[in-house]
């Protein structure tokens, strides 16, 4: 009797035995924890906030490292430009707001001051996705991956849970160069552990399977794992689930390998289908190994007020929708 329900791939990744129950913690908490540790490891790490200390989880850093914390008010363009200046003289600034406002409002500053200028500024984009809930469309960033992945030199990371968000915060703090870390508001399932490896630019196989590859990022990785189990139960279809946390630079080898092994791919992200993580997967596979691809994400629409899970379901990103997409991909490949 194995003491775990996990397959070898999941065990290698030191995952939680998620089928037997998960803890729900917002990914933003992981950012808050990682940031405090980064500030202890390197006193040049600064945290700069635009009037959202509590909800972006910079508040803990403010208490732990008051001398490394700056508050600049509702001024997201200033946030980027100020950080660019600080980075140019040796600081490692983390700047935080809601993703809608930074990089949403500040995009040209991000492109010129962070990327073209090549400064060591890190953006924490909080409240990404429709799972922001009742605040509605104005606050639900579902275009941010698109506008960030298109910028040369930018690193874009979308971790799958709170534990991985902490790991990503620490890894990005050490990596020199402009970066964007995207995370969410709502509580979501923890599937990784402190022992789970994390390397920027290296995708992770969380579940083995060779019928369809589900390539996911962010909090929907858990839904992808649930969908894979559903397909195994109901149809005997075995999915590989890839946690594609680094949208840029994307792990092309892992994507091509998934396509070669499975022959069909589903991409899953809490973002517009257009120009997101899945689109990058399609760009890679169109050139290197074309296979049928289905996309899970928001279909060229804006979000709206509602409860987080209600909206995830309504916009077609729930477990059942992912399983259905995988079935479609599977049918297309066997046709």
């Amino acid at each position: 009797m194995p003491s775990t329900t996990l397959d070898a791939a999941a065990q290698a990744m030191r995952l939680i035995d998620y089928r037997t129950g998960v803890e729900l913690v917002p990914t933003r908490n992981g950012f808050g924890e990682g940031l405090i540790e980064a500030g202890t490891r390197d006193r040049n790490v600064l945290a700069i906030c635009a009037d959202l200390a509590e909800s972006t989880r910079m508040e803990g850093f403010k208490k732990a490292h008051p001398a490394q914390y700056l508050e600049i008010g509702v001024a997201e363009q200033m946030l980027v430009a100020l950080a660019g200046g600080l980075a140019a003289v040796g600081k490692i600034p983390w700047i935080a707001s809601y993703a809608m406002f930074n990089p949403g409002r500040s995009w040209e500053q991000v492109r010129t001051i962070m990327a073209l200028n090549d400064t060591n500024v890190k953006i924490a984009g909080a409240h990404a996705g429709v799972s922001v809930g009742p605040d509605g469309a104005t606050h639900q960033a579902i275009e941010d991956i698109a506008i960030m992945r298109v910028i040369p030199h930018m690193t874009v990371v979308v971790p799958c849970d709170a534990v991985q968000t902490k790991a990503a915060t620490l890894a990005l703090s050490k990596r020199v160069g402009p970066a964007y870390l995207r995370f969410a508001r709502e509580k979501s399932a923890i599937v990784t552990t402190d022992a789970t490896p994390f390397e920027i630019g290296k995708a992770q196989v969380f579940r083995e399977g060779s019928d369809v590859a589900i390539v996911a990022c962010g909090i929907l990785v858990y839904n992808a794992l649930m969908a894979a189990d559903l397909l195994a139960r109901e149809h005997g279809i075995e999915c590989r689930v890839v946690n594609n946390h680094t949208v840029k630079p994307m792990d092309e080898a892992a994507i091509v390998d998934a396509a070669q092994t499975c022959g069909a791919v589903v991409t899953v992200e809490e973002h517009q289908k257009h120009a997101g993580m899945g689109s990058r997967v399609a760009e890679i596979l169109a050139q290197r190994h074309p296979v049928p691809i289905e996309f899970i994400g928001v279909e060229d629409r804006f979000g709206q007020s509602g409860e987080p899970t209600e909206l995830i379901e309504y916009y077609g990103m729930g477990t059942r929708a992912i399983a259905d997409a995988a079935l479609r991909a599977h049918q297309r490949k066997t046709k």
């Binding site: 906030c49 009037d51 959202l52 200390a53 509590e54 909800s55 508050e71 600049i72 008010g73 509702v74 001024a75 363009q77 200033m78 809608m100 406002f101 949403g104 409002r105 809930g133 009742p134 605040d135 509605g136 469309a137 104005t138 606050h139 709206q304 007020s305 509602g306 409860e307 209600e310 909206l311 309504y314």
Partner: protein, 285 residues
């Protein structure tokens, strides 16, 4: 200039009380949302919808209506409650606030609820659009007035000051900005987070006509707004000094009520306080 009779003033004060009750009811039903700002702007919104603005609740798209833009969209509950209490839609609809499928989105949307004039929530964008509307009215010789309600923390946004400069350049005397000067924002006092003072002098230096008044005194606000609106050749700003959470004792002056709703028990207490205040207003009329 219309003078305000004592009877009319009493009516408006009762309306403002109803608007506050509507805010509390909608927030507790929603289970999320902002309390302090909506409550402190209830008197201003009542004055606007009840006295100052040319508008037709039964014809929200009336082309000659005054334009009212709420730049700080997070205080939408006050606008929704004022609209309901002045006949735009039934007050029961307030209970749909922030729920799936509602017209009363967490932050107001022009497409779902047309008379809100513009979608807001991202701070600092209202005055710039109001400037465009006021300029458009000038270009077409239209008589409508443009009112923009803006929070104090929005004055930390660069775009807001780009609008201040632009409106002055075009001498937009058909534009009045109203600042909810409650001195709070999410992370604390505006003067700690990013100091705004001297705010009146900043506007003066940008060639605006500047007025200051108690934003929780309907009569004073109406008198100030009428004076402001009569200005020629310049845009005007009314710095309305308000008490965050006004009307609910345990919220007043406390910045932590910026972005949370009352729970059921707290809402009941708030509604009881508002009811007692309503009785007082009527008794002293």
């Amino acid at each position: 200039m219309q003078t305000l009779s004592p009877e009319r003033l009493t009516e408006l004060r009762v309306k403002a009380n109803d608007v506050r009750a509507g805010i509390i009811r909608s927030l507790v039903a929603a289970g999320s949302g902002h309390s302090a700002g909506p409550l402190d702007m209830a008197d201003v919104f009542t004055a606007l919808y009840g006295h100052l603005m040319a508008h037709r609740p039964d014809q929200p798209d009336w082309p000659d209506r005054d334009r009212l833009l709420l730049s700080c969209g997070h205080i939408a509950p006050v606008r929704y409650s004022a609209m309901a209490n002045f006949g735009y839609f039934p007050v029961e609809e307030l209970l749909t606030l922030r729920k799936f499928g509602t017209r009363l989105q967490g932050h107001p949307e022009r497409v779902t609820l047309p008379s809100v004039e513009t979608t807001s929530g991202p701070l600092g964008e209202g005055l710039a659009q109001g400037t465009g509307m006021a300029l458009g009215a000038k270009l077409d010789g239209k008589a409508f007035h443009v009112w923009v309600v803006t929070s104090d923390a929005e004055h930390q946004c660069g775009l807001h000051w780009e609008a201040v400069m632009t409106a002055a350049k075009f001498g937009l005397d058909n534009l009045t900005a109203i600042v909810d000067r409650n001195f709070i924002q999410i992370d604390g006092s505006t003067e700690d987070v990013m100091p705004l003072e001297p705010l009146a002098e900043k506007y003066r230096a940008f060639n605006w006509d500047v007025f200051t008044c108690d934003g929780n005194d309907i009569a004073a606000f109406i008198a100030t707004a009428e004076q402001a609106r009569a200005t020629r050749g310049k845009p005007q700003v009314i710095i309305a000094n308000t008490v965050p959470g006004k009307g609910v004792s345990y919220m007043e002056g406390d910045y932590t009520w910026h972005g949370k709703p009352p729970n059921r028990e707290q809402a009941d207490r708030a509604l009881a306080e508002l009811h007692a205040e309503r009785e007082r207003i009527l008794a002293h009329a």
